[in-house]
Symmetry: C2
Subunit: 274 residues, 2 copies
């Protein structure tokens, strides 16, 4: 840190960020940390718009590469989820250099495409946790504060040598990166999966897909995050998400290790992949 303020850069590899988020985040940081508040710099790319995305692929890729490779940026925070990080993650990671090597990258949901790719390539320190846009959830300040607390406490540290390593993803996102260049090695890791806005039949299908993958079966075990809300099924599915996770763990031989305290909600906990 060399005597200067900690600097967190926010970029948006997925959808455009609402303009009311930066002042709300700044106010929260001021209130929580006072003079010790980190500098939180929202990259202009966060507010670009190109169809579904926060700017064209090239702008989203370039912004991510820029902050990853900037030695004056202590941590990268993803602005929000949505969809689009998969379109630029592998190329962006391929352009990351030494400054990115030990830098935290914090986000979840669609940002999981980047976290997975970083883990796959051994670059940076991927961390699952709430993002700036979460401040607009009911109770979202607590979720955002949890991420900021973690970044302030951990950005200058090396990866810990915990007895157990983790990886945490949205179920659909993780399902859709299997077999691509973003698939991480889960050997010796516990895999946490959460879901949002999907009907039970799709949750079941995604667990079939994920647990049917030979490389995923190397994981130490699976923990089920919250699946909330669950979209209504055409006909009542008949079994819930816990029974579904247990079923596919049984079929695949992956140990089911119970619930994980993660999800698209204010209680979403920080999970450093380590």
């Amino acid at each position: 840190m060399m005597g200067r303020k900690m600097r967190i850069a926010v970029v948006g590899p997925s959808n455009m960020l609402a303009h009311d988020v930066p002042p709300r985040i700044a106010a929260l940081a001021d209130q929580r940390y006072g003079a010790d508040a980190p500098e939180i710099a929202f990259h202009p790319q966060c507010f670009m718009s190109d169809g579904h995305f926060a700017g064209p692929d090239s702008a989203r890729e370039d912004a991510l590469v820029e902050v990853a490779n900037d030695p004056d940026v202590d941590a990268v925070w993803f602005a929000r989820g949505g969809y689009g990080a998969n379109r630029i993650a592998e190329r962006a990671i391929g352009r990351m250099g030494d400054a990115a090597r030990n830098k935290p990258f914090l986000g979840y949901s669609d940002a999981g495409f980047v976290l997975a790719g970083l883990l796959a390539k051994g670059i940076g320190r991927p961390v699952h946790g709430a993002m700036p846009a979460d401040i607009n959830r009911p109770g979202g300040e607590a979720a955002v504060a949890r991420s900021l607390d973690w970044l302030i406490a951990n950005s200058a540290r090396q990866n810990t040598q915990d007895a157990q390593k983790y990886a945490a993803f949205n179920l659909t996102v993780f399902s859709q990166l299997l077999g691509t260049g973003l698939q991480p090695d889960l050997s010796d890791r516990v895999l946490m999966l959460e879901e949002v806005d999907e009907p039970m039949y799709r949750i079941d299908r995604s667990f079939f897909h994920v647990t049917g993958n030979v490389a995923v079966r190397k994981a130490v075990g699976l923990m089920l995050g919250r699946c909330t809300p669950i979209t209504p099924n055409t006909t009542e599915f008949g079994i819930d998400e816990v029974a579904v996770a247990r079923h596919w763990c049984d079929v695949s031989g992956i140990p089911y290790l119970g619930r994980a305290d993660i999800g698209h909600d204010a209680d979403n906990k920080v999970v450093a992949f380590g």
Copy 2:
């Protein structure tokens, strides 16, 4: 055929079939083929109900194995789509014997999980085409007649040695079987993919997933079936399904070979995998 009527067995690895379908299919067959109409036997399992599914996994698996292994059954026709074939496909195929070796298995959509597994294991003759439940679509008689015509003309034949082999799937179904024991070898094949009831961002994400798979990149090329209807995107996606397919073909190096005449509609053509 040994002088007896051709026998087509209908089973339902996915959702329950409506009771009005068998009489409508029988009437169509009588009208179209008269005294030469094949016997079309709907397995009682088609009408079972267990939560989302046409009976529990064991019943759906057993029914499929029973008709596959019955030497008096000339062809297996899947009753309808929905969801559930993935839960029983690999186990059922593992129990199939000599009687299944050259038998046609015809269906599409969720039944694609079985077609893919058969292709992966080199068992039977997987064929993409309309299913009995399609008779309740507008214009569905023509779609069903197309499948019956194909079965009557081809059941007794061996696989053709066409210059070009194909495989045809629903995009989401194909995406979700990648990396599992159901993934087929596509070397020397053209891959046709169609979609139904998905928003553009999911179509884009599925194409990312499918074309990101190293084994899929061995395909001769990709043809895009109809993607109809497309669910509204939260924000307008900005590019259509053709541009999306072309984009991911460009990224992955898979040749884009134009449109395929398949989809969840009355025009859905028969595609024998060969």
